[in-house]
């Protein structure tokens, strides 16, 4: 039935289009029917006008029909109504298709409005994220007070197997989770920022065009690898490697250690930081470089004393975006980090992160209203606020920076 209605719908639209177009061509261009003055709009616009009018009203009718007469369930009545609407549209078109009718203005106005709506979707998405997070978080904070959530030192939302199990309610103190996220992020940035920065320096200041052509794709491949693959790499290769390495030094650590996770996450973020920094440093005006060289500075001195200070805001923004990415990264930690919270600063222990907890809380089979499910949204809200702040700071830095050099 939907197929039939859809087919007829398209057919009728095409009919209206052909009708209006033929009519317009006959009236405007066939000699003897009065072809002496130029029409305001070419026939196609009259045709679009008719077709879209028919399309719009048919859609409206179908929606109303579905809303109020869904119980009738007949196909014939909508079909008759659709035909009727098309006939009425053709009648309207017969009357309107005149030289002075400004079909183009209407059609173009409509198109522009549709384009405007498309760009509005972006705002709707943001609102959707904020509203869904807020709505569910508020329901969570009805069950668990906000202060307990933010200051609690214990996170153990156990999944109850029996009704009367001890600790069924679980404890929702977010501090260890946030601390774990922060720990992994800090160590990941310790790896990603220096390496990414040096790659960018090499690319923008040292490498010739031919080397750039080889190196850039390699970095892009690194950036294109899905994070679940990095997660597999961390779980299978880096985690055990760090573990055996430390065992050789006489330390007994877990394969899920912060260090192992951070190494892989750092590698994932390297291309992100290097490409952003490369853009920023390439944007530093050549005249500053030339001035520095003219004074006898070596390339490295130019980089250190001229380019890095000039590009500093941009590099800062790149690092902040990297941090925001590390905070929100899910698949690496879901595979390679621990699922149990651990309040520690020790980088050789296993910790959990906000994203791991969101995944763990939502991938079990529990009812939608439980505190555990809602807690995921509260964690999501924290993550959103943190990344939003970082992003906005970074974006405004970049905007200010661009304004400084590209007036």
């Amino acid at each position: 039935m939907p197929m039939l209605l859809g087919g007829v719908y398209l057919f009728l639209i095409v009919m209206a289009f052909v009708f209006a177009r033929t009519l317009a061509i006959m009236r405007f261009y066939v000699p003897g029917l009065g072809a002496e003055t130029r029409p305001h709009s070419v026939p196609n616009f009259h045709a679009y006008f008719a077709a879209w009018t028919a399309g719009f009203f048919m859609l409206l009718m179908l929606a109303l029909y579905r809303l109020f007469f869904a119980a009738v369930g007949s196909v014939t009545i909508p079909l008759i109504l659709m035909a009727l609407i098309t006939a009425l549209t053709c009648l309207m078109s017969f009357k309107l298709t005149q030289r002075e009718f400004k079909a183009r203005d209407y059609v173009e106005g409509f198109v522009q409005f549709a384009l405007f709506l498309c760009s509005g979707v972006v705002i709707l998405i943001t609102f959707g994220i904020i509203l869904s997070l807020l709505f569910e978080s508020l329901r969570f904070f009805e069950k668990i007070p906000l202060t307990d959530f933010l200051t609690g030192l214990e996170w153990s939302p156990q999944i109850p197997i029996r009704e009367d199990q001890i600790g069924e309610a679980g404890s929702f103190g977010v501090v260890p989770v946030l601390l774990g996220t922060g720990l992994i992020t800090v160590f990941a940035m310790l790896i990603a920022v220096p390496i990414g920065l040096f790659i960018a320096i090499y690319l923008s200041e040292y490498a010739g065009r031919r080397r750039r052509r080889v190196i850039k794709p390699v970095i892009e491949i690194l950036a294109g690898i899905p994070s679940v693959v990095y997660g597999f790499f961390a779980l299978l290769t880096i985690g055990p490697m760090v573990q055996t390495g430390m065992a050789a030094l006489g330390f007994d650590i877990t394969a899920q250690s912060v260090v192992a996770v951070s190494i892989v996450m750092g590698v994932m973020i390297i291309p992100y930081i290097s490409s952003l920094s490369d853009d920023v440093m390439s944007g530093v005006p050549q005249i500053l470089r030339d001035g520095s060289y003219a004074l006898g500075a070596t390339p490295s001195e130019t980089v250190k004393k001229i380019i890095l200070p000039a590009a500093f805001p941009g590099l800062m923004a790149a690092s902040l975006l990297g941090v925001s990415r590390a905070l929100g990264e899910t698949m690496i930690v879901a595979l390679a980090a621990s699922k149990a919270a651990n309040l520690t600063f020790n980088p050789f222990e296993a910790v959990t992160t906000v994203t791991v907890q969101i995944v763990t809380l939502l991938t079990g089979d529990q009812e939608l209203d439980s505190a555990k499910t809602l807690a995921a949204y509260a964690l999501g809200l924290i993550l959103f606020i943190l990344t939003l702040l970082l992003n906005i700071i970074a974006i405004s830095i970049v905007r200010g920076y661009n304004a400084k050099f590209h007036r």
Binding site: F232, T237, G328
Partner: protein, 427 residues
């Protein structure tokens, strides 16, 4: 001429400056090499553990099918064929192949050579295709998959003591006998590409996950590409400089950096809780991916529009075309390849995205391929995630192989985008 007093000092300074320069340069090059090495290491480790999966061993076994013992009816229906148990047939066939085996324990070892569910499936498929030709009783030779341990043993024969331990001495004798006869052969592993997931590693494939990914990506493309194009055109061509435009611009840049998992939460709330759509459906996955792809899509489309030279548009305008006509008849077709490239690249990225899909329910074990957009399905990155949690060697190999397939798919999409872009440049 006498040298200046400070000459020695100056030369020392120069030397240290040069050394500093050299060190700095080395650090840069070292970072590049480090990153490339890690990439090479990652790819090599994937290939070295994943390549084994692309071939698999099967055993040509003579199986006797007797209709009366298998089915109660004269003419069994497809339903009966599907429901019947063929394990006994396989076991009899194995015993007929090695008639000297008598003890129950040895028999168990013998049965462990082949994958019983896989063998049953092979018989089932043969019967459902050839039921008409099956008279009272007949013997056929069917290639049936060997069990996971045997497959592992055959693949890692030289290297692994660990693998050797999983085979008993008797089993190794049988295997050698079968190889000598030429009944045990390696062949290209079609099953891996087309079979659905399975609890048995040797039978598991990425077929249904691949289909789910394909469906989701198609929906994401159909939803995101037009909206992204529309938004990009509006912002690039029509948007007045006002508050709304400013907010939209900041929004796009921010959304492009919002963690993927938050789009998963949005999808869970919007489509599952409010919209009432089914869990793990490719439709929902596609919609979530579309929302996620939109910001980057808009950014790349705008860049493509900006790269088009203004000449054609100006000519069209001077000939009396309206702004809209110049845009749709000249600018957008000219930017078309660039726009297409951008959309393909963002879809390649979405193909590897797993986090948001986890939250909309794509974590459950799905055995059958999805037959509609609202069926429960899996996706390639999700399948990788689920398999990756298995420490068993056979599963590790499967995971690596699935990753290789995913990477090849993404590379293909990038290649298509590259070809489109280079054709545009040649023009």
């Amino acid at each position: 001429m006498t040298e200046p007093k400070d000459s020695h000092k100056a030369r020392a300074i120069l030397r240290s400056r040069k050394r500093g320069e050299w060190m700095f340069r080395l650090m840069g090059l070292g970072s590049v090499i480090l990153a490339s090495t890690i990439l090479g290491w990652l790819l090599l480790s994937l290939i070295s553990s994943g390549h084994n999966v692309f071939y698999q061993h099967s055993l040509d076994l003579k199986i006797t099918l007797d209709r009366q013992s298998l089915f109660s009816q004269e003419v069994p229906s497809q339903q009966d064929i599907r429901a019947a148990d063929y394990r006994a047939v396989i076991k009899t066939a194995l015993e007929a192949r090695f008639p000297r085996v008598q003890e129950t324990d040895t028999k168990k070892e013998l049965y462990a050579l082949v994958s019983l569910p896989g063998a049953s499936n092979a018989v089932r498929q043969y019967l459902s295709e050839n039921m008409q030709t099956l008279s009272e009783s007949r013997s056929i030779i069917l290639p049936i998959p060997v069990s996971g341990p045997v497959d592992q043993y055959l693949k890692h024969d030289e290297g692994g003591v660990r693998v050797r331990q999983t085979m008993s001495a008797q089993q190794r004798i049988w295997i050698n006998a079968l190889i000598e006869k030429g009944d045990l052969k390696a062949h290209f592993n079609m099953r891996f590409f087309f079979a659905p997931d399975s609890p048995n590693a040797e039978l598991a494939g990425i077929g249904s996950a691949f289909l789910g990914s394909l469906m989701a990506i198609l929906i994401a493309y159909l939803v995101a590409a037009p909206i992204g194009l529309g938004a990009a055109i509006y912002l690039e061509e029509f948007a007045p400089k006002n508050r709304f435009t400013d907010i939209v611009e900041i929004n796009i840049n921010n959304l492009a950096a919002v963690p993927p998992i938050l789009f998963g939460l949005l999808g869970l709330f919007l489509f599952l809780e409010l919209g009432g759509l089914p869990r793990a459906a490719p439709l929902v996955a596609g919609l979530v991916l579309a929302l996620m792809a939109l910001p980057t899509l808009i950014i790349t489309t705008r860049a493509a529009l900006r790269q088009v030279s203004q000449h054609r548009v100006d000519s069209a305008l001077s000939l009396g075309a309206s702004h809209m006509q110049a845009l749709f008849h000249h600018k957008i077709p000219e930017a078309g390849p660039g726009i297409l490239t951008g959309t393909i690249l963002s879809m390649a990225q979405m193909l590897g995205e797993a986090a948001p899909l986890l939250l909309i329910g794509m974590v459950a074990y799905v055995s059958a391929p999805p037959s509609s957009l609202t069926d429960a399905a899996s996706a390639l990155p999700i399948q990788i995630f689920l398999w990756a949690e298995n420490a068993d060697h056979a599963w590790v190999e499967r995971t690596a192989a699935a990753i290789l397939v995913l990477l090849v798919m993404m590379t293909l999409l990038n290649l298509i985008a590259f070809i489109i872009r280079s054709r545009l440049e040649r023009k």
